[in-house]
């Protein structure tokens, strides 16, 4: 243990050198306080994480999480992920295969056969999105890199796309995986990634945006939702100019390239399904946020993304959103300012901004006060119930998330799911949560049903485990303890614990 502590200290020092002053060590708390702290940064404190925090301290735990390691899922979860068809094929191959299926269906002349073939095509798309959701949930439940998972969800929501637009069900998994890889890196990389991904280009109609037939949709959201934020200092004119910069950036799912004039050839870009078609680009000069952009094709976009990623409004807007997700619905402005300053100093390094946030007194003061959103509620409940036994079927979780209105990839509008309590604490939502608490608390709930088998394999939720006694029980309110005392069966006890206000917050 001493060896481990020493090497951790060394890493901390190095990390400190690389990225500014070393983080202040959070005050050592009780196990209950540490588990509350972990609840905020993970999908629920696990026994392993709590033990790590208790022995290494919060700061060391956080550094491990913020490092770009590739700690694997537990074998039983990893095997399920690897068995998914989305893991076997590149996005391009998958899109082309589905497109061939769509065309074949459309070519049928018999009404009934055609309707059947089109239904099959739709089902194939839906299966792909479902697989992606399965992978997401398995990561959320069992990945040791919990902060990365929290941030993957955050970035998908920030750069939201909706699975039911066009054929996006085919691409949401790939899109999410790329966000996961970049989740703790630089904002500029995330921004560039989304701006080049076919899911985003299609979702916000930039594949329809060409010179003299402008579609402003992506340009507007890029400024309003992805970077500067409303009131971030841009005008309608900036939206229009950015839309011109974005002309020609689209999606090509075929292997063909467009016929171009010789002078345009050099400007053509292709990366997977993303295509920059110079024939559709407006090569005129643009004025954006006070900067003159010369007509240089694809390079204009890179220049503009640099500008947007480094803009102080972006630092403030995205820092505030992070603080909304992780600290409070209405985050303390002073904290947001410090995060934004760190953002500027670190050129948008997300790990650095998160460290500033987590090590703040505001963060500590807010623990236990943030109402869980549906995903956090469902995942943390299953994670607590089956900490040591990997679930075999995430289907029921998806069903619960649909009922609670926060299914993966299912927010229609580009603003993403709301991050505040108001959106999730209505009467219908609460009742549904209690019913789900009961379903999870009362038995295996379909979570251990393997395809092709008639019944669940035996499993029972084990909530009253060490992490409960050590981390949760000591901080339960009197009202909750009273309710638990009235339980007449383990099932009922589980239901009350998962229904309690204590469990609904983090």
């Amino acid at each position: 243990m001493r060896h481990l502590l020493l090497s951790t200290a060394l890493v901390l020092t190095l990390a400190g050198c690389a990225s500014g002053p070393p983080p202040a060590l959070a005050p050592a708390g009780t196990a209950a306080q540490d588990s509350l702290w972990l609840d905020r940064l993970t999908y629920g404190a696990s026994r392993t994480d709590l033990a790590q925090v208790r022995t290494l301290g919060r700061a060391a735990w956080l550094e491990r999480q913020l490092r770009a390691g590739a700690e694997a899922l537990p074998a039983a979860a990893q095997a399920q992920v690897q068995a998914l068809s989305i893991e076997q094929e590149t996005l391009t191959a998958r899109v082309q295969r589905l497109e061939a299926q769509r065309k074949a269906a459309d070519a049928l002349t018999d009404d009934a056969a055609k309707a059947e073939a089109q239904k099959n095509y739709q089902q194939a798309l839906t299966k792909l999105a479902r697989e992606a959701a399965t992978r997401q949930l398995l990561h959320a439940l069992y990945s040791p890199q919990q902060v990365r998972e929290q941030m993957t969800w955050f970035w998908f929501n920030h750069f939201n796309v909706h699975q039911y637009k066009a054929n996006l069900r085919v691409a949401v998994g790939d899109y999410e995986q790329g966000l996961r890889d970049r989740a703790l890196g630089r904002f500029r990389d995330l921004l560039g990634y989304t701006a080049h991904h076919p899911a985003m280009l299609r979702y916000l109609d930039n594949d329809q945006n060409g010179a003299n037939r402008i579609n402003e949709n992506y340009a507007r959201e890029l400024l309003e939702l992805h970077t500067l934020g409303v009131g971030g200092g841009y005008s309608q004119r900036d939206v229009q100019e950015l839309a011109r910069v974005l002309t020609g950036l689209g999606v090509n799912i075929t292997d063909n390239r467009p016929k171009l004039k010789p002078a345009q050839e050099a400007f053509y870009r292709r990366d997977g399904l993303m295509e920059f078609n110079p024939a559709r680009h407006d090569f005129g000069e643009k004025q954006l946020l006070g900067l003159t952009i010369k007509g240089e094709g694809f390079a204009e976009l890179e220049q503009v993304l640099d500008l947007l990623a480094r803009h102080p409004s972006t630092a403030r807007f995205v820092s505030r959103k992070l603080a909304q997700q992780f600290v409070a619905d209405d985050p303390p402005p002073a904290l947001v300012e410090r995060m934004a300053a760190r953002w500027q100093q670190s050129d948008g390094r997300i790990a650095d901004v998160l460290r500033t946030m987590v090590n703040s007194p505001e963060f500590d003061a807010s623990l236990g006060r943030k109402f869980k959103d549906p995903t956090q509620f469902v995942v943390s409940a299953v994670r607590l119930a089956y900490a040591d036994k990997v679930v075999l079927n995430t289907g029921p979780m998806l069903g619960w998330l649909y009922r609670l209105g926060q299914a993966p990839y299912n927010r229609q509008t580009p603003d993403g799911y709301p991050l505040d309590e108001n959106a999730w604490a209505g009467p219908g939502q609460m009742t549904t949560r209690f019913e789900i608490a009961r379903a999870i608390g009362s038995g295996s709930a379909g979570l251990f049903k393997v395809d092709g088998e008639a019944k669940d394999r035996p499993a029972f939720p084990q909530l009253a485990q060490p992490v409960y006694y050590e981390g949760i029980a000591p901080r339960l309110t009197a009202a909750t303890q009273q309710a638990l005392a009235q339980a007449t069966s383990p099932q009922e006890w589980n239901t009350y614990l998962l229904s309690s206000p204590d469990f609904m917050h983090r």
């Binding site: 209105g405 603003d415 939502q429 206000p501």
Partner: protein
């Protein structure tokens, strides 16, 4: 309709305790039914005087002899013979052809979002707020729904609170399609509510249990009826009856959606795919009217869809995404038995982009006009519901 009560409350409505106003039995009820997938309005409300209709739809047109004639220009799909046509004859049903939004992306999702948000068409005129649907703003304007402790006034009968009802007012939602027994029994509910008694969620928790309880009482009624040999309603008809019970007793602003209208292939005519779907819808709405009982006179149902479909049939005896639709307006006090709103002769030259019905009756103006009549809203209040739109009263109630 019942304006007196609302006018008495006047501008101060929002400031009054919501419970008082919710308790009133003759509060106007509004149910919006959203047909997701864009139903083919031209095969519901058939332009019988248009020879172009019969030319444009060689396989799927509904013959003049088959429709229920409504006036010299229009006929109703025969699938609605026993359900909506009787309401029409009682002058409790009106149709508004050429209705919809000017948004012309022809994308289901984009247009549905657009309609539900109810914000200005002109995207350059300002910032869209994706958190605010027009029915939520209407709930706000008429003072329904307010605090979490109130009885539940605005409600979506759907699995999720849809965009149209999202926003500042708390809104309940409960899909009524497949109802089991409440998973949480009364005693458990009491214990759970006890845990929340001293929290800011106390009202939401007890209110939620209350609605669930009410719904389950209604369920018990259904089961009793069934055991006495009554023919149980099924599908949408059953759902619509349940909606009616809640709207009769406590919900003043309701929303439900019905899918299955995207008839690109083998749509059918007087019978077939669309006719079956329309038949189920009509039957459900007729049962809704019946179940509302004495409250039907205080109730308005508006049936909308994101857009209409191509006027000409496609190569698969179906129709593709179009533009103008036809909205239905039903209710005990509706000035029905007529085709309302702006109209134009149906021929090739009047089509929008030579393919679809045009939009002559913009939905925001239409709902604005309706809300003014129903709730006596002022222009200033209407402007909060539909910013940038001017309400147009086409005399529907």
């Amino acid at each position: 309709m019942q304006r007196r009560h609302l006018l008495q409350l006047g501008l101060g409505a929002a400031a009054l305790p919501v419970q008082l106003w919710a308790a009133s039995a003759d509060t106007p009820r509004l149910l919006v039914v959203f047909l997701r997938g864009a139903y083919d309005a031209a095969n519901l409300l058939v332009p019988t005087s248009s020879s172009f209709y019969y030319e444009a739809r060689p396989n799927i047109a509904i013959a003049r002899t088959a429709v229920l004639a409504l006036d010299t220009d229009w006929g109703l799909a025969p699938a609605l013979t026993d359900s909506i046509h009787p309401l029409w004859l009682k002058q409790q049903a009106a149709f508004v052809p050429f209705a919809g939004t000017h948004e012309a992306s022809r994308s289901h999702f984009q247009t549905q979002d657009h309609i539900e948000l109810g914000q200005p068409d002109d995207a350059t005129s300002g910032h869209r707020d994706f958190r605010s649907g027009f029915m939520n703003r209407l709930a706000s304007a008429i003072g329904a729904g307010a605090p979490a402790t109130s009885r539940l006034e605005a409600m979506a009968f759907t699995d999720q609170v849809p965009l149209i009802l999202r926003g500042g007012q708390p809104v309940a939602n409960q899909a009524l399609r497949d109802l089991g027994k409440p998973a949480i029994n009364a005693q458990q509910a009491q214990i759970i509510a006890g845990m929340y008694a001293n929290t800011r969620m106390a009202g939401a928790v007890s209110g939620g249990f209350e609605v669930r309880e009410e719904v389950s009482r209604e369920m018990a009624g259904e089961m009793e009826a069934a055991s006495r040999g009554a023919i149980a309603a099924k599908g949408f008809a059953l759902e619509a009856r349940r909606v009616a019970r809640l709207m009769r007793e406590r919900v003043t602003l309701g929303f439900i959606d019905v899918g299955g209208w995207d008839t690109h292939v083998g749509e059918g005519g007087a019978t077939g795919q669309l006719a079956t779907r329309l038949g189920e819808l009509g039957k459900g709405l007729a049962q809704f009217a019946d179940e509302m009982g004495p409250q039907w006179k205080n109730t308005v149902v508006v049936v909308v869809s994101e857009f209409g479909r191509t006027f000409r049939e496609n190569g698969n005896r179906g129709t593709d995404h179009g533009h103008g639709s036809a909205y239905w307006v039903l209710g005990g006090s509706v000035k029905g038995g007529r085709i309302a709103g702006e109209q134009v002769e149906v021929k090739a030259s009047t089509l929008f982009q030579n393919r679809d019905y045009p939009v002559l009756n913009e939905y925001r103006a239409l709902f604005g006009g309706l809300a003014r009549r129903m709730y006596g809203l002022t222009d200033a209040q209407l402007a909060t519901v539909f910013p940038g739109a001017s309400a147009k009263d086409i005399g529907l109630v």
